[in-house]
Amino acid sequence: MTEYLLILVSTILVNNFVLVQFLGLCPFMGVSGKLETAMGMSLATTFVLTLASVCSYLAYTYLLEPLDLTFLRTITFILVIAVVVQFTEMVVRKTSPLLYRVLGIFLPLITTNCAVLGVALLNINKNNNFVESVLYGFGAAAGFSLVLVLFAAMRERIAVSDVPVAFRGASIGLITAGLMALAFLGFTGLVAV
C-alpha cells in the first residue's frame, strides 16, 4: 500500500515530469495562456496518459513479450498512444466544441507529448506490474496537471503586469518555469524512487 502512495508522491512531486524530468514542455508552454484552457488540457492529458499507460502495459506484457518482439515496443506504444489520442479527440469534440476549438492543434499533439511515451517506456524499465503502471500513469498526469494549472494561473497574472518589452510573452514564461523547477528541486531526496 505504501508503495503505491510512494509512486504517486514520486511522480507528482519529486520526479515531476515537467519540471524535474523536463518532458512534455510543448503543451506546458503552449496551452498555459488561460486557466480554463489549461484545465481542459490537463483533463485531456490525464485521460490519455492513464489509458495509454494501461494499454501499453497490456500490449507489452501480453503481445510483445510472449512473441519475443520487445524491440517493437517503441512503435507499438506510439500506435497505442495515437489511437487513444484520436479517441480522446472525438470525445472532446462531442462534449465540448469550444474546448475542442480552443485546444486546437494541441489536442492531437498529445500524441507527440514525450511525457506520454516516456511513461509507457519507463513502466517497462521499472518492471511495474499492472497496478503500478496505472498509478504511475495517473500520477504522471496528476503532476503534469498540477504544474500546468499553477503555471497558467501565474501566466495570467504576468500577462497584465508591467513586464519589460523584451521579456514579454514566452521569455518571461520560460524564466518563470525555470524558477518553478528550482522550487520543485526542493523535493529531491524525499522519495528514493
Partner: protein, 192 residues
C-alpha cells in the same frame, strides 16, 4: 530470423487493423452534428448586418470565423469585438483589417424629410426594419433602432439620407482611464 521478422510484421498489422476498427466505430459513435460555437461567436458580433466584412450579414461571418476566418474584419465592432473574439477562441487579437473599413464613432441615419419622395427603397434595404413609412408616405428613421450600418444611403434615389455622428450627452458620459504611466523618471527624461 525470417519467421521472427514475419511475426513482427503480422503482429503490427494486426494491431493496426484492430485499432483502426476501434477508431472507425468510435467515429460513428461520437459523431458531431452542427456547430454551437457559431452561436457564441454570433452573440459577440454587433449585429449591424452591414456587410463590410465581406459576408452577407453577421451570422455568415460568424460561421466563417468558426471555420477559421480572420477575426479582424468587422469595423462596427471595432477593437472591443476583436478582443472579445480573440478571448473566446484563444487566439491572438489582430488590428482591424483596414481594407474592410475603419472604426468610426457611432452614427445613425437621418432622413431629410422635406426631400423624401416615399419610394420605400430605403425601407427594403434596412436589415433591422428601423425605417418607418410606406409607399408615397413620409419615411423616417427610428433612431433607437438604427445600428448605423448605412445600407440605406445607397438605394435612396434623391440622396436624402445623412449619417450623423451621435453627440456625447451628459447621460452617456463615462469616466476616461487615468493618464498612462508617467513615472518619476519619465519626468526627468530618463525613458529611452
Amino acid at each position: 530470423m525470417w519467421t521472427s521478422f514475419l511475426i513482427a510484421v503480422v503482429v503490427l498489422l494486426a494491431l493496426a487493423l484492430v485499432f483502426g476498427g476501434l477508431l472507425g466505430f468510435a467515429a460513428e459513435r461520437f459523431k458531431v452534428e452542427g456547430n454551437p460555437l457559431v452561436d457564441q461567436i454570433d452573440s459577440l458580433l454587433p449585429q449591424t448586418q452591414c456587410g463590410q466584412c465581406g459576408f452577407p450579414g453577421c451570422r455568415p461571418y460568424a460561421e466563417a470565423i468558426a471555420n477559421g476566418e480572420a477575426i479582424n474584419k468587422c469595423p462596427p465592432g471595432g477593437e472591443s469585438t476583436i478582443k472579445a473574439l480573440a478571448d473566446l477562441l484563444d487566439i491572438e487579437p489582430q488590428p482591424l483589417d483596414a481594407e474592410h473599413g475603419a472604426e468610426q464613432a457611432k452614427r445613425v441615419a437621418v432622413i431629410r424629410e422635406d426631400e423624401c419622395i416615399g419610394c420605400t427603397k430605403c425601407i427594403q434595404a434596412c436589415p433591422v426594419d428601423a425605417i418607418l413609412g410606406s409607399a408615397k408616405h413620409m419615411h423616417t428613421v427610428i433612431e433607437s433602432e438604427c445600428t448605423g450600418c448605412d445600407l440605406c444611403v445607397e438605394p435612396c434615389p434623391v440622396d436624402c439620407i445623412d449619417m450623423v455622428t451621435i453627440q456625447p450627452d451628459i447621460r452617456s458620459w463615462s469616466w476616461s482611464p487615468p493618464e498612462p504611466d508617467i513615472i518619476a523618471t519619465d519626468r526627468q527624461g530618463a525613458r529611452t
